[in-house]
Amino acid sequence: MKFKASLTNRGIQILEKRFLHALDKIGKTWHIYLTPDHFIFLHNLLSFDGIQSVAQFSKQALFSDYRIASQTGNRIAFTLDLALFYSALRGSASVCAAGGANGVHVRLAKKQTNSNGPNMPFLTFETQGGNSTVIHDVPISSPLSPGDIMELQSALENAQEIPATLVQVPDLAKMQNFVERHKNIGDILKVSVTQYGDLLIEVATTLAVAGAAYCNLGVLGVHVDAPAESQAMKVRARMELALERGEALSAELKLKHFAKSLQCCLSEPDSAFLGIAPQAGCLTVIFQFFIPGTHQTDKSISLHCRLPVLET
């Protein structure tokens, strides 16, 4: 089992300044899943008792040289404490920023932590500066067995199924602020999405109902025109009609999960979409990244979260 790769400056920048900041807010323990083509961060994929998250990068998006070999179809997976990964990367980035560094090399290694102890697995960051080499060792779990990797792979495939209709989240930062303010009112959020491009988010308790309704949002997937009679209706009435007609879906989830998923704003996405997958029992939030300077989706980077829906 071997893994050795060199992070590019852009790769360091993407991870350190954007993604790790966001992922750190979502969860502490992550699976790192390495495939011949992708470097993937997975959170909570095997349990789904909270927010699930997948951040996938093509090897070219982060690395200049990427070599992997294992007996499980050249796939390796392990868990680590993201905070340690983050701090190692920050350390390496600061050596690079000081100048004279010849890139950051990442590899899997087994090392003895004390003279008599067993060899422990590490993800090692090696930064060669002008006169010195700085090494950060991030302790990781034992690599997953082939069976566990199969399970992780199938969980990943499941997680990548997207809802039939996704609506574009209007102004992410504003939405994040708005959702934070709902925390004082209640802790269960109801989200409704129509195929017309309407989005209704509300917190309802025995004492109050508060929320926001948005119309005419961008739609990905199944998109139908709103019936003529509903054009003049207020959004909530139109939502009722759409639910009756089977052209809308509604789900209740924990407000804190939704707020957490919006922390992905820190990864500086260009837009976000959300949709409800009734069979999967989850709300999916997908973040979209453009190729810098264009309005074309950067397919080498993807980030999405799945939030468990409460049974009603």
Binding site: R181, N184, A210
Partner: protein, 291 residues
């Protein structure tokens, strides 16, 4: 905007932040219910605690950009004050329609909106009238800079006991005194600093004691706009030492629109919310007040 004919009241505000300021100043506990009374003249909100402290917030109809009153009589209901403030906080481009149903149209997209509906409660049947009566022909009162009053009350926390307020006519002076772990006395001398003590009416010495936590409630949440605008607070002593504390809070956010200012530079009272606190004195077996 909603203008349902079935609503008792539909009123609009240019900005929710001033109203949040005014409501926050009568909130001294996390869970508090407020009694709301609607009339053609405006909205009165009353908050009470253990029969000893009461706050009244007067929102005259002129405070609102529009005020359409259609109810018969004066509807009264109770509402959770914290929830009302939390819901108003949701409105970035706010408007108020009914005291309990809030709806606002977002400027960026004509179809989108933020909404909040709060369920009202049946008000408690406690007596809401403290029956404030002046102690003599000339009410005993003084007006002090709100910021100075707040600072003095904050400082009096340290001795950790009740606070004794003494007014004496000669020389005209107001004293706040607390004794506990130590003792602290703060004097406002009328002639020493007329800037601080703006008015003083007292023809006989009076002295009453008030629970610190009640006195603190009257100043603890004064919005920063009050201290920034250098407003004054008026304290009047009624029969038996019932203390009335009055503040003025601007409901207009000056950053989004020019304030209503008259030629002499004073802000017109139309966009001002009036706040009154009534604090009952501590009753001693051996009263300090002998007047």
């Amino acid at each position: 905007m909603s203008s349902s004919s079935s609503s008792d009241l539909v009123c609009r505000l240019d900005s929710a932040s001033g109203l949040i300021d005014a409501l926050s100043s009568v909130r001294w506990k996390r869970n508090q219910d407020a009694l709301v009374e609607l009339s053609e003249h405006g909205i009165v909100l009353i908050v009470e605690e253990s029969g000893c402290l009461q706050a009244k917030l007067y929102l005259k109809r002129e405070v609102f950009a529009s005020y359409e009153y259609q109810a018969e009589g004066r509807p009264r209901f109770a509402v959770s004050l914290g929830l009302l403030i939390d819901c108003l906080n949701l409105f970035t481009v706010p408007g108020l329609s009914r005291a309990v149903e809030i709806r606002s149209v977002e400027s960026s997209s004509s179809d989108s909106c933020i909404f909040a509906e709060i369920r009202t409660k049946i008000p408690d049947t406690i007596s809401w009238d403290y029956n404030f009566q002046p102690a003599g022909s000339t009410p005993i009162s003084f007006t002090v800079k709100s910021a100075a009053l707040k600072e003095a009350v904050d400082d009096l926390e340290w001795p950790g006991s009740s606070v004794q307020i003494t007014l004496q006519p000669n020389p005209p002076c107001v004293s706040f005194r607390a004794e506990g772990h130590g003792d602290l006395q703060i004097d406002f001398m009328y002639y020493a600093n007329t800037d601080l003590l703006m008015a003083f009416h007292c023809d006989q010495q009076i002295c009453y004691r008030y629970k610190y936590k009640f006195l603190r409630a009257t100043t603890s949440n004064i919005p920063s706009s009050v201290t920034k605008d250098k407003r004054g607070s008026k304290l009047t002593f009624g029969m038996g030492g019932l203390l009335k504390v009055q503040h003025l809070v601007s409901v207009t956010r000056s950053s989004t629109q020019p304030p209503h200012v008259d030629a002499s530079g004073y802000q017109l009272p139309s966009r001002i919310a009036y706040i009154e606190f009534f604090v009952k004195p501590e009753v001693d077996e051996d009263p300090v007040n002998d007047s």
